[in-house]
Symmetry: T
Subunit: 147 residues, 12 copies
């Protein structure tokens, strides 16, 4: 079972600045955590990681996943609220997808309450910090197994 973990704009910046405020976890730390969790779930579970600040590259990566991956975990970050293109890419590949967010987006500005991605996802996990990814991994794993 192959799973692609996609991170959107500014997530490459995690933990880079003022760790006393934003926490010291970097995107690399999240990836390592997911590798560890993955090993617990199944030895046949392979993860690949991808991050980009570009909407177009995210679309292209989703397309490339077709035929190669069984599931996608995506944190579309800012593009959650503005990208119909990412929605369409997910829709056209038809790969089961889980949307994750570090923060609880419903506690933030009004414009962050709307997601173009939720409507084409299997499920959504938000608000658990780096644990959102871990829960999302488990969620997509169980979903794919039950297909």
């Amino acid at each position: 079972m192959n799973i692609l973990i996609i991170n959107g704009p500014n997530l490459n910046f995690l933990g880079k600045r003022e760790p006393e405020i934003y926490g010291s976890n970097t995107l690399e730390d999240i990836n390592k955590l997911l590798e560890k969790e993955s090993a617990l779930l199944s030895k046949d579970l392979n993860l690949e990681f991808f991050q980009s600040n570009s909407e177009g590259e995210l679309v292209s990566k989703i397309q490339e996943a077709f035929g190669k991956y069984d599931g996608i975990i995506i944190n579309p970050a800012a593009y959650t609220h503005t990208s119909v293109a990412i929605r369409d890419a997910l829709l056209s590949t038809g790969i089961p997808t889980v949307e994750v967010h570090l923060s609880n987006i419903f506690k933030r500005e009004e414009f962050r309450h709307k997601s173009y991605v939720s409507g084409v996802s299997v499920g959504v996990v938000s608000g658990f910090g780096i644990n959102s990814y871990v829960l999302g991994l488990r969620g997509i794993f169980e979903t794919i197994k039950s297909l």
Copy 2:
């Protein structure tokens, strides 16, 4: 660590009707699954279950949780979209809460996209069927441990 799992209106009806359509899982099955998951997480984790169709009883149960529980998992079902009273109860007890939904509410009618509960929860998990509860339990467990 004590955790209260609260289910809102109509969830007592799960699996009772036309199992070939709605699945054969009942609320009792979910509870058993959670007990099993709980045992895996920690032997000091105690779960209590509560379901009601009445908004007022749900409010009262949340109040009673104060001083007795370390965390709440709530599936407010239909009250998600209409109950300020449940929001206020959660707010006033201050107990860390995770909101869960069986279905992905963002794929359903427009009026189900708004939640009064999300804004006072630690995090939200929706769309994974009965697995939403399992992920929610793990989420609240990690959240409480890290406090």
Copy 3:
């Protein structure tokens, strides 16, 4: 053929106060009228009556109807405009339902023009006073016969 007639909040108060203004018909009078009409329609038609001011009790009663009643006539009164829970209960039992209103709700305040129940009902009758129930009974009777 068994039919459950459900009345929502404040309908127990009908005819109790200032009969010269609100009319002298009580809910009991409506029930008697329905019994009489029922006898005309078919001798195999049984009616049961239920009223509650509590949204939760209305939800529970609808659930209990499953497997016991062939049709429901409901006047959700104030809950018409605010209760997703009653909508969900009707949806999950799948019993054919007719929504009735004493007054023409489209002649009243803006917030009474929206109904959460209409979208899950077979049909709607409003504005004929106590006759709305009689027409509703005939409507549900014909609907069930033609299934």
Copy 4:
């Protein structure tokens, strides 16, 4: 007692096309059903039928009803949602009117949920197929008798 039954645009097309899909009832069948029901209600009840695809002809017919008819049953069809002129015609004649719809308009597109006619009608019946007319006839009959 004289009652005018008015049908709006496209209702002349009922049952004309693909009967296996839309049912084989034509407007003529509805009219016959109403004549039969009328005979049951009272031998002094006279019905007249009118259908037009033209908003202006519908307005003129409503005006002509003044002084000749005791009640109107109208299915304004598509004009329900767009015609202030029909509303004004009903308002100015002051004849008690019942609005009927074959389908439950609240289950259809958003723009069909608003009616310019409901606010000037005695009552509304929708969703019972051809039975909506029968219930509407009984409703207007009882309304006129009680004046």
Copy 5:
């Protein structure tokens, strides 16, 4: 100078019913009043009158006015709020037009506050009863003279 006075739906019904409520002035009385006023303004002023309940006939009449009339006075009645077709007809003939209303439409229902005709008219007169026509005639007369 030739002026066409156009009246929309239901205005043929003026004064026909319950004169103690709606006043006893008929559309014919308005026309006579306008003839009298016209004689005072100029002996070269010719008026023609037209009324229809049909949007299409109103559109056609406006088109026919092209090349024959110097000005139009229109009371679009209910079509004020719903007819883009009348707006387009006035726009395409390019004849100076004055919109008049018997009642003050801003004191009535919200949906009567919007006019598709005002934006293509020289000016608007509303609320003066039958005097709205007299003021409108004088307004269009002065407007044409000053061209």
Copy 6:
């Protein structure tokens, strides 16, 4: 019969600047035109003129009109769209009022389509340039005579 003509903000500036663009009519010219028209209508008709850029002074002037004037003609200019205070002043004196505008406000920005004054006026005249005042005078004159 005494009539007060009230002009709101910036109307004192009429004709003062670039007459080739805005026309050379000043507020004084409008007043003279009204005096001339007044003489034609009745020798017992007295006009008083008032202009202010201050919402408060306009409110005070309207109050002072109570018991002294039989009618008011008001061009509230910019305050048309923003002043509840002028609306309340007109409402509390109860003097019949006609609202006039030089331009057709429905051809201008969206925010100029809403008037707080129309709802408390007898009638509205807009779009006839300085003639709007003349028509408004005749309208208020006829209105008062018919009381």
Copy 7:
């Protein structure tokens, strides 16, 4: 003179948790304060107190007040913004009612700015903490005396 003081959801929780934050006043303290104030106003003034987290019980209690109480003071708390049923109950009993709130609801979330209860109340008092009740009592007392 008998007055019923009704408190809605979560008000039973006042002062129970973290007194250093929420103040140490409980609902019982408010009731005692009202008893003291009542004694100052009149020795014939009797107060009864009721609190419930259930919308249905609040509706039923309001109905029971009919014929027994001269006035109602209600803090509908969260139901202020969502309950048409409480509005209808107050409307149908016709007992003069004063709406009170501890906090100034206009300083809180947008959804708390709308009240279904204000439109059927004599008056509203909000923002004075426990003093809102005292002012409300004096307000209802004076209102009833002046009837």
Copy 8:
């Protein structure tokens, strides 16, 4: 293959007025252009033309097309934005339809951006002047061939 070309209100006026501004093409010119294009596409392609300013006549014509035409090209003009009746007529006949507009309606007033017809059409062509009809003909021709 038979195709009906339907033109809505004011299109009979094309080219009739001020040719230097609106172009000198009349509706007859468009029809001739379509005949010429038709001959190029297939010798078995027959066109019929219909224009009316009346919504009702347009509805009736669409109904008559049932069983006689294989496709419809419609320029609903002003009724595009206001007619649910035309939408329903097209829906009930089920004939493949192409919506065309001379101008690009998205460059005009906001109220012209909404079309009731687009949602029941195969496709839409707008903005190419008289060429919109030619493209529409080719579009409907290819669509019918591929059925």
Copy 9:
């Protein structure tokens, strides 16, 4: 303790016109009532009264209150719904303020339901007629004492 009572536009007109309709209480009567109430509360309580129809003068008066008054009672009347300037003045002086209204503004037109002042006030009292001022005085008195 010094308290400034500020009244907005048209309140100087209270009781001046048709006392049989609007009541015979003038603003002077309200002031006297407040003086009497003030004497009951404390002999050290000094009241000053101010009324203006001008938004600018109200703003200036609020500024002058800085350093001289301990509290403000304001009935902003029509400016309640339109004045950001009064809001800003209250905000910048920082003096505790109570907003009062004679009528229950929630029973009136939609545009009166929004207040720019409530969000910067300690509390709001509306609907008790002249008693609103008395309750407001007691409210501000208790608020200042408890600071």
Copy 10:
């Protein structure tokens, strides 16, 4: 005559997946079809093709077209609804542009009904599948010829 055909995000994926569902036409097939159509229209017509998933690359390509191409055919796909940048690029080059869509966007989700590109295009063609491109080519060809 040189024409640039631009395709937005996900259109490179056409026909790549599940041909039995989405059809087997790829973007290359569309390009070939356009080449064939181009040859029929004129031997001097040159086409260039460009596709990108990146909004920025699409903007840059449009800029590069300036001075090199006489017309643009663009299917902005998902960026239709979200890209002001593409609108601005088209606007600043001033090259005549035709917007095309495979599907009828008015039959899809509400957010797909708004286009930032339509307002700066000559015309729009949508809903004809791959034929939309052919019609668009013919439309831009005729448009450029007639300049």
Copy 11:
């Protein structure tokens, strides 16, 4: 070159209260800073300063500027969001105007994001504290020079 600097309501209060919070700069300090900057820009640059809390006085001052000033710098403060009258005054004098704000109004309440003045200004500067005026002066200076 003569420039008028206009300040709206509450700006006379700057620096008057709690300097440790709001800063110690008064309006006089801003004026001095502008005089100093003016001297740097050109010795022929004359500044005049005006402040008022009254909308009417601000309107009158803008009118008086006609023919005397080459440019206006205005901080309309609270009237930014509510005054159509100031907008109209600026529009009718036609003097180039720059709008300035001390704070960044886009970081404040929603109702402060709309400006009636921006649409009739050359440019806008907001958020730089007292430096907004300095930048605005330089902006208007360069604008006038380039005319």
Copy 12:
């Protein structure tokens, strides 16, 4: 002091096309103007320039600025109104930023009145043509100096 000047989509096209219409200033001219202005402000002020049509590249450049630049001047052009990603990038680096626009965006289409960037900027300058950059530079310079 190091300042990064960032320009968004289409600004590379400035002055490239039809200089008689759009002016002959290119982005290079703006950069030179800024260098000149920079020299006047301080010899220690270093500027770097960046332009991209790609949202992702703009995000990445903003991230790279962290730790290297003391301030940012950004003209986000079309992305002003659609990019949450640029907002988030600015927010996460925490570098003081000034938003500039060549044109006054409040005089253009409605959708250009909303900015995602203003809410995270120190200040905004718009409408002064190339001078907006000069004013923005001075604004950010003074802001950084005063930190």
